[in-house]
Subunit: 212 residues, 2 copies
DNA sequence: CCTTTATGCGAGTATGGCTCATGTTAACGG
DNA sequence: CCGTTAACATGAGCCATACTCGCATAAAGG
């Protein structure tokens, strides 16, 4: 499996350049959207020659995937951080916390409203082969990674044993959350408060089948 | 508001041509995905000169939007049909029916697995203007139309008065359903059965707050 | 039959993704 | 300190694609 990056930036300057490219990519996504974003413009704004751009990123999608990955890591970082600070009594608090943090990133992190953890790109490079049945964990969908992390956090919170369907349920919950929050931000750039509340309710009801 | 079509096909031949272009678009989407789909190839396969293509469709996105609209109409058609045939006792039956029909279209209708009702396209033509708060019904998201139609059907089924939050809840439900089913088809080209079941469960639990 | 108006057409333009030949810097051995 | 070699940097240019525009053709109307 090829990494998201074509070449890993070794020297300090390279790291900064990659970072700058991701930053500009994020800003441009907010400004013009994915389709209208051009690699030339990203390179120009980041003050990186186009040739260098392609030393680090496979292609335009690779750029966005890398940004999505950075977003994912930032999100997980923030969540673990906040959980450590204010420890919660009930698993529903964790739901609220995760959603609140997600919403906050939608508002404050450039580009996050457009790509969050990726998965915007419609079938990257052809359709899935016929007869291919990927298991859930082999599907390297970033939302699955989020679900996985949340499962670990949940199990740490309540030391009850995991019901068998928990992991599947969490993947479903994360996917649904993602969709409803996207809706909330489509309806209102600041995030429709009512829809955010509904989102929490949706997840709580559903997960109540699998958690005490 | 400009229609999805640049010019409405008047004569019989034109109607057939537009239909053929949509058909080929659907097939191509299954074969190569959205990004790799080219307007030239669609025109070539549909045996329509490229100039004519652009008489009917604004651009590549317009083509896909038109297909999504056709999918939407087909779906609503099928649903109302099937409801008329086997009339159901409980609103949960309607949930099942709608999801089953959606799944069936994913399996049988070309291109449906890729675009279904649209909304794949990341920010079509720039970001939403700052401070713009569209109401839910003015957001012409196709899923909202689905939700609207389902609300009418639900209210016809049980003549109970609509709770105030019902329409919002249905939009949320449809959005979540869409996401989880996309997941189900990402995990398995034929649609992961367990995930489909979970999807129904998710919606039932959530809507139980708003329906008897 | 001629005028006017709508429709059909595809060569051509603009632009964007991406490469590759060449120049530049670093790494290392003697 | 120099020479050799390998890694990295660069941007002019290549190719493909979305989309246009002026002319050809057909239909409508008188």
């Amino acid at each position: 499996m090829t990494s998201t990056l074509r070449r890993r930036p070794a020297q300090r300057r390279s790291v900064e350049r990659v970072e700058r490219m991701l930053d500009e990519c994020a800003l441009l996504l907010d400004e013009v959207g994915y389709e209208a974003l051009t690699t030339k413009e990203v390179a120009r704004r980041a003050e990186v020659p186009i040739g260098t751009f392609y030393q680090f990123f496979h292609d335009k999608q690779g750029l966005v995937r890398a940004l999505a990955l950075r977003n994912l890591e930032a999100f997980l970082q923030r969540i673990t951080q906040r959980i450590a600070e204010a420890d919660l009594g009930h698993w529903t608090d964790l739901v609220d916390l995760a959603i609140d943090e997600f919403v906050d990133m939608k508002r404050t992190t450039p580009g996050f409203a457009v790509v969050d953890f990726g998965e915007v790109l419609p079938t990257p490079g052809g359709p899935p082969l016929e007869g291919t049945k990927r298991t859930l964990d082999s599907a390297l969908d970033n939302n699955v990674i989020v679900a996985d992390r949340l499962r670990a956090l949940t199990l740490a919170l309540l030391d009850a044993p995991a019901g068998p369907g928990l992991d599947r349920a969490l993947v479903v919950a994360v996917e649904a959350t993602d969709a409803v929050l996207k809706l909330a931000f489509r309806a209102d750039p600041g995030g429709d408060a009512d829809l955010i509340a509904e989102c929490k309710q949706l997840v709580r009801r559903y997960l109540a089948d699998h958690l005490p």
